[in-house]
């Protein structure tokens, strides 16, 4: 198999918050169809990198190329880039004043300018895909955490993105609903979606990721296939981190 084209390329990316160095020179790449999991302790910079990817945060140094083109600065061009990336948040961030299906229709109707019927069709298909057709009329307040996150995934997919960004999608969930969200993500991965996933779910990373990147203190300490990271980590700090999670590397 020939290597797929690079979709996202991070070159020496730096990000500061005042004196705090959130990212100090991060370089990695994501290829089309790959699932890349970013792991590491809290505050190690993995969420910051994800948020830089769709320009919710601005870079303080280095370069980020999407499809070979550096991320633009002008608002209109940034919006175009964001339309091609879906994002799923830790706290779901569903719009509470809209029903599940209206949440999913929001992007297509507001941003893509699809007709009501067109965006409804698209939204229904996506709710079916995440197994929530019967909840289409529910407001987020009347959905469980796992259901809300599945709607949030459908909402992001409604823009037909080329890349999906997941920012700790299961961290705010009750243990019993984590599985249903991970299953939806697994299905997406199997369909060939390019995914960048910040996660603490090591089993998921191990099973689904093509490439795992380990962060610590704003730097990548190790990256490679899951087999390497989880079974034979090269770095002592990777072993330490996995050991703290109870992972026996």
């Amino acid at each position: 198999m020939t290597a797929a084209s690079v979709v996202l390329q991070y070159r020496n990316v730096r990000k500061l918050y005042g004196d705090f160095v959130a990212l100090s020179g991060v370089s990695m790449e994501v290829r089309r169809g790959q699932v890349v999991c970013l792991i590491g302790p809290s505050g190690s910079g993995k969420s910051t990198l994800l948020r830089c990817t769709n320009a919710l945060e601005t870079l303080d140094g280095g370069e980020l190329l999407f499809d070979g083109v550096p991320l633009p600065k002008e608002p209109a061009a940034i919006r175009k880039v964001r339309q091609r990336m879906g994002m799923v948040f830790q706290n779901f961030e569903l719009f509470p004043h809209k029903t599940a299906i209206q949440n999913v229709m929001m992007g297509p109707s507001t941003v893509l300018g699809l007709s009501d019927a067109q965006s409804r069709d698209r939204a229904e298909a996506l709710l079916a895909k995440v197994g929530l057709v019967e909840k289409a009329g529910n407001y987020p307040a009347n959905l469980s955490g796992g259901q809300q996150q599945r709607v949030a995934i459908a909402r992001a997919l409604a823009m037909e993105p080329e890349v999906m960004l997941f920012d700790e999608p299961t961290s705010a969930l009750d243990p019993e609903t984590i599985g249903e969200v991970l299953n939806v993500m697994k299905t997406l991965a199997d369909d060939g979606m390019t995914m960048v996933v910040v996660t603490h779910e090591m089993t998921f990373a191990r099973r689904v990721a093509d490439h795992v990147v380990v962060f610590d203190s704003g730097q990548i300490i190790e990256q490679g296939p899951p087999g390497q990271i989880f079974d034979a980590p090269h770095q002592a700090r990777t072993r330490d981190f996995l050991g703290h999670l109870g992972w026996d590397a």
């Binding site: 339309q83 994002m87 706290n91 509470p96 929001m106 507001t110 941003v111």
Partner: protein
Amino acid sequence: MNLDWSIVPASAGALARGALITIALTVLTMMIAVPCGIGVAMLRESRLRPVAFLATCFVELFRNLPIILVVYWAFYVMPVVFGIAFSPFLTGLVALSLNNTAYNSETFRSGIKSIRRGQTEAALALGMSEAQAFRKIVLPQAWRRVLPVLATTWVTLFKDTSLVSVIAVGDLAHTAMQIRSQSFRVIEMLTAMAAIYWLLGYPQAKIADWIHKKFGVTE
């Protein structure tokens, strides 16, 4: 004590006209002060410092002046300083609108601030512009949150419109006071005035209570 209640039915037409003017003042003031309040709230959050500063000055000035003073000011000072002379009704409307715009802007500002940043980010991540995110996502949620406060402001405003009677606007209070001073039926007219204000105000207060219950606590 010699009471003659016939003055009340005899003045029914005038009182009804006064009540209509009071209601019109309340409705028009809110129709002006709600959008202007949202506008001033947005100006206060402007990235341009001078704009935010001026908006803050406006709010702090009119929020902290007694309405009656603003009414007098609009009536006596505005024509002299700015050369604008409105009818008493318009003058009263301006004064009440200035005061309520200041109040509403604070209401909306706290409502808008109470919507967490993640909501805007979720909208931006879909590819919306900042303006779309504000209009479609933040404002509708803030609106529901501030509705109970707006309802309370409304009820207060309805009663506060009586303050414009000092510039002869012809509202309910002014009309009743006029009839009182012409007929010397003080107790009768003050009682009638109280009854009318209460009968009109009570349902509004009840509606406000209902809004508090319906929209008060969510999440």
